[in-house]
Symmetry: D5
Subunit: 96 residues, 10 copies
């Protein structure tokens, strides 16, 4: 079941660089684990913004919330979730 997610990162201006870097490193590791597992299908950077569009493939709303709220950057992000379904014109089996 697919969901479209937009994430905007807003780190506090006074967060020390090493703290920020440590959080970002954990974020990257966690994100790549989810991508390899197939749960986090796509992630793209928006040009010029500290933000991404992502596609998640999960079994339920609850699973998506668990994945998102465990993101190391979760306390510093605005997240917007949109449920998706297959488009009647789609020719691509994976976009179910």
């Amino acid at each position: 079941m697919l969901f479209h997610v937009r994430m905007d990162v807003k780190l506090p201006a006074n967060m020390p660089a090493d703290v920020a870097n440590e959080i970002k490193a954990r974020e990257k590791t966690y994100s790549q684990q989810l991508q390899c597992s197939g749960k986090w299908r796509h992630i793209w950077r928006l040009v010029g913004e500290y933000a991404n569009y992502s596609i998640f493939d999960v079994g339920s709303n609850a699973e998506l919330h668990d994945l998102l709220s465990a993101l190391p950057l979760f306390p510093y992000m605005e997240i917007e979730v949109t449920p998706l379904c297959r488009h009647p014109s789609s020719v691509r089996d994976g976009d179910a």
Copy 2:
């Protein structure tokens, strides 16, 4: 080069059903041709809305505009385009 596109369809309330159906049929054919060509990479329906999120893979801004403005539903759509680039955490080669 990837672009995120949101399309919202707003057909006039007084458009006759057969006119609408003919436009939608042409739209579907055209969309599937672009999907098969690889230009229109993904298309998903937003649940509960007459709208889609799509990912296009084109060689230039101009090519994207030509593809979009040739959509049979173009005169009846609001379209919002966001340029994408590879996310530093992405593990997926195709999401370049």
Copy 3:
């Protein structure tokens, strides 16, 4: 799996009363069938507005889209869908 849905009805000002009434009658029958089946868990009117807040309980995003897009009033509604999950403070088994 639960979803929060807001529906705002905007009938064209020039729709004849009997056409509107026939659509509304079909809407009511359809809504009550879904409520009795357990798919449409709750529906409440917003005071002073031609709008409702509803809770749906469905197996997938796709099922929700099928139910919503089959609403007789669907072409005349703005619909906003929000996926829900269990709140950690909830004491109510049904609100899973």
Copy 4:
């Protein structure tokens, strides 16, 4: 008498973790007391957000304000209240 309430929690970035945890623990206890009393009928988490949709069943506007303003998280929340009434299509006795 039913009310739809959306609560968005915005804790200050510099609040110490133990202070936040103590407030959240009191919030949970208070919320569960109100749920058990029947005043707070439903609470659902919005997927990916630190926010909830709730349904309250109270005797008056004043009672609702007293309940909400006594929330331990009240100083850190944006709250939006919408009065509800029975929908003419509802088949569920409790959604009066």
Copy 5:
């Protein structure tokens, strides 16, 4: 129990003047009956707009919805309802 209501009237540009006048005359009669009954406590015009701010005093959400949806101008209005309660600084008994 008090509610703050904002009403914005948007009559279709092509409504014949006599139809509009007949609706407005019924609106005025109905409004004045509710004012005399004490249900519609206050009504003020917003300067330069075809809109009003009103205060209603009703026994329940359902009663307010019944009153508002029976307004002859209801199909042509945008209505926004805000529940009120006594302000702790108020010195006026009637503003309970």
Copy 6:
């Protein structure tokens, strides 16, 4: 001459409680003096919000600005002023 005023209070999160309480106490005294004088005709709390809707009866725009900018909470409020006039359907002499 009547004005509709909405006030939203936003105290800084780090203001000490005794400072806040002292300002609120002065605000209450000042508000009640203006209410007793007839200048501040009504004040109602919005349910669930740290905000009020008020009606002022003053001789001029300048007088209203002087009253509002002297509020002890003025530096911490967002204020929105709307000029009112008698509604043609009003039956209440005081709502002139």
Copy 7:
């Protein structure tokens, strides 16, 4: 007593040119009478828009509403009124 007013004109696309011209001619005459009387102090066009910013000098809110609602273009305008008062830095006697 001074008020800042923004007026945006939105004539229906299907209004015949002679009807529009007749209304605009009456609007101009009416506007110039009010300017000569001193009630309508200033009127400026916004560059590139069918809109104006104006300053009115009237004795009361009610007088302003009467002047505005008598504009021949009133049914086709969006109007936004802001009450003004003397700025403490102003050196100009007339801007009281």
Copy 8:
């Protein structure tokens, strides 16, 4: 050449009173010099807000930017500029 300018002042909550007062004093002196020179034609306070509407009369866009960015309060203001021109209905020579 005339420009309409809205300025909203937002001083940081933790700015010491004497610093704020010193900036405001310089702002007043500077504003009055520009008013006396004829560059800053009008300034009015918005009732209930720490904001003003102003009219500037300058020779070019660049001159206006130089005047505004030299305001002592410039770092603490949101400024919105709208170019004006003579309204075809205007009877006032100075409003060119």
Copy 9:
């Protein structure tokens, strides 16, 4: 003197194709004359939208309004004008 202009074209859905084409042809001719004269410095299409960003170089606000309001598509456009000036980092003589 430079101005940034955004134009969004919204033709009525029921405008006959030949009427639309005739207006667009006149628009193109007029636009190209202004471009050749140097008044209309740049015009770019926004990808996926019936809209453009343009840069005008004119002697005054009034001249800009005259140019824009003479556009054959003017009655069908939303236009937003922003005055520009030289950026202190600019190395390009023409962008004065």
Copy 10:
């Protein structure tokens, strides 16, 4: 390939002047290098705002993101990117 970029600078109120000045000096140097290289085609100041409109000419979305995210002021800016293409009415070869 051309892109329209709006940048709004929001420096923290408590940033020391010398830190701000050092960042701005690096920003200027970097901007001028990109301008001289032809990548950053235009930059204009918005009158009265700490903001600019710019036109970039780059080979890909990724190149634009790399240029923008390397701006010394990047952490303190809101950036909005719009892809452009040649307007069918354009007479200017460079605006391809």
